[in-house]
Amino acid sequence: MSGFDIGRLVNFLSQRWETILSLTGQHIAVVAISLVIAMVFGIGLGIVVWNKPVSRSVTVTAAAIAITIPSLALLAILSPILGLGWGPTVVALVFYSLLPIIRNTVVGFREVPRDVLEAARGTGMSATQVIFSTQLPIAWPVILAGVRVAAQLTIGIAAIAAYVAGPGLGQYIFLGLSSLGSVNALNYALVGTVAVVILALLVDGAFVLITRYTTSEGLRV
């Protein structure tokens, strides 16, 4: 295996920066799409089960078990059904995002003070109005914290989806692994990995801002 050479890395970057940017863009896109889908299902499911003890524990436990399935194994199971590329990747990422989102939706809804709910009903809001004008906005920071965890999780897992020809920076990591011993093997793996880490940090920072601007000032501690 060839050793690390900074000159070669700079050369590598200057030749491939367009590809690296495009892979980063794909990575962001696949994570964003998956998160949006997972939010629709996860928050919806959380709203349905949060005050039903049996369905709530079944749902949260099922999601908790699901998340223990190794991502590589899940992708291997999904690809015969969904083929290669974006399909199995998005499904897998949605799958792993569900647990933190469902769990935090349930926790957030349960933390809405009972007296606030009673006051909401007492003003004559319908059940739907109570959900959308009272429960969801009050639970929002907690739900968003779940989405943030899901984002970190899926940015990492998306890299592994290159195994089923999924989009994103994982392609460089796998390229590095499969070409071990070649001149640029280490550069491929290194660039892929470091880019994923940087992306994760930037997205986390973005979530701090998103939380700040979408949470009512009245809920800030």
Partner: protein, 341 residues
């Protein structure tokens, strides 16, 4: 969210500027899986603009009784009529927009400003923006929260007493003819509570709502109520009368035990100084304003150790004096008046 136009009863209630009558007849609530009823055969008629206190120990069913009126709790049987019309036949959400509701924990929406909190029901009723804005301003002034200072604040930025005022303003927003108040001042400190009670009485004198007020504090019931219903287990009415009559003639031992010690002192709160027959002015004695109650006069007598206190009118002129003997004389006279009625 479709807004169905208010039908019959709702338009009657919505159109009432002042209070309307409220009747509960044989109302019963039995919870699933419980042998005995939480509220058993509760019947009461409340006149328009009357402030009725439901007082009883915790767990006696007073809160359950009240919550059946806006159907936060559905009665098992019986009928409830507002302005003579049955409320159990209409949509509960529509009904609640016309009944003010104040709870002990206040329950302000933490994610909304005070102005937005107060606007809740007017928005549900589809008022115009301009009408809502002027109503918010009017109400905040009424409950003594400066709109310029507090309108855009969030509940967590207010003290307990200010939050409770905002809660009352929210309940009054759409000018409902009926208000339900569940120990609204229970969680505030004694000084704030006394202030809120005084403000509330002043407010009620102006707005004249029909009010059901639940409390476990008998002194609060005496201070605020036009009539008091003393309740025992399963919301059974032990006595339903004016504060003065309950203090003078408790119906049974239960009511007596609820009044507790010092019934005479409590009655003095209800008798204005002007009702007593004054003695001659006593030079050098401490003085008290005529606007107070005999309880205030007695308080001053005990506090100063003087044998008499001078009574002065609004302009500060002394009109006579009170001693222990005249205070108890006034109490006896009041009692005879009531008994002869």
């Amino acid at each position: 969210m479709s807004e169905s136009t208010p039908t019959g009863i709702l338009s009657t209630i919505a159109g009432a500027a002042r209070g309307v009558s409220l009747e509960l007849e044989s109302v019963r609530k039995t919870y699933d899986g419980q042998a005995s009823a939480a509220v058993d055969d509760f019947t009461m008629r409340i006149e328009p603009g009357e402030l009725v206190m439901l007082v009883g120990p915790s767990g006696c069913g007073k809160t359950t009784t009240m919550k059946m009126i806006n159907r936060i709790i559905e009665p098992t049987s019986g009928s409830i009529r507002l302005a003579g019309e049955d409320i159990l036949s209409i949509d509960p959400d529509q009904l609640r927009r016309h009944i003010g509701y104040v709870i002990q924990q206040i329950g302000l929406f933490p994610h909304r400003t005070i102005a937005q909190n107060i606007a809740t029901v007017p928005k549900l009723l589809g008022w115009s923006k301009g009408k809502i804005a002027s109503r918010i301003e009017e109400l905040m002034t009424t409950v003594e929260l400066d709109p310029g200072v507090f309108a855009n604040r969030y509940p967590r930025q207010l003290s307990g007493g200010q939050q409770q005022r905002a809660g009352v303003a929210r309940a009054l927003a759409a000018d409902p003819p009926v208000m339900l108040m569940d120990e609204p001042f229970g969680a505030t400190d004694p000084i704030t509570r006394e202030k809120l009670q005084a403000e509330f009485l002043r407010l009620q004198a102006v707005i004249g709502k029909t009010i059901i007020f639940v409390t476990h504090d008998f002194d609060e019931a005496i201070r605020l109520g036009d009539r008091i219903a003393v309740l025992s287990d399963r919301s059974h009415i032990e006595q339903f009368d004016t504060p003065a009559n309950i203090l003078a003639n408790p119906a049974n031992e239960y009511v007596e035990s609820f009044i507790g010690l010092g019934a005479a002192l409590k009655r003095l709160v209800l008798i204005p100084i002007s009702r007593a027959h004054y003695d001659k002015e006593v030079p050098g004695a401490p003085s008290i304003e005529v606007s107070g109650s005999l309880r205030d006069a007695l308080d001053l007598l005990v506090l100063t150790g003087a044998s008499a206190v001078n009574v002065c009118d609004e302009k500060g002129r002394t009109v006579g004096s009170l001693s222990h003997a005249t205070v108890s004389g006034a109490l006896r006279a009041e009692r005879q008046d009531e008994e002869s009625v």
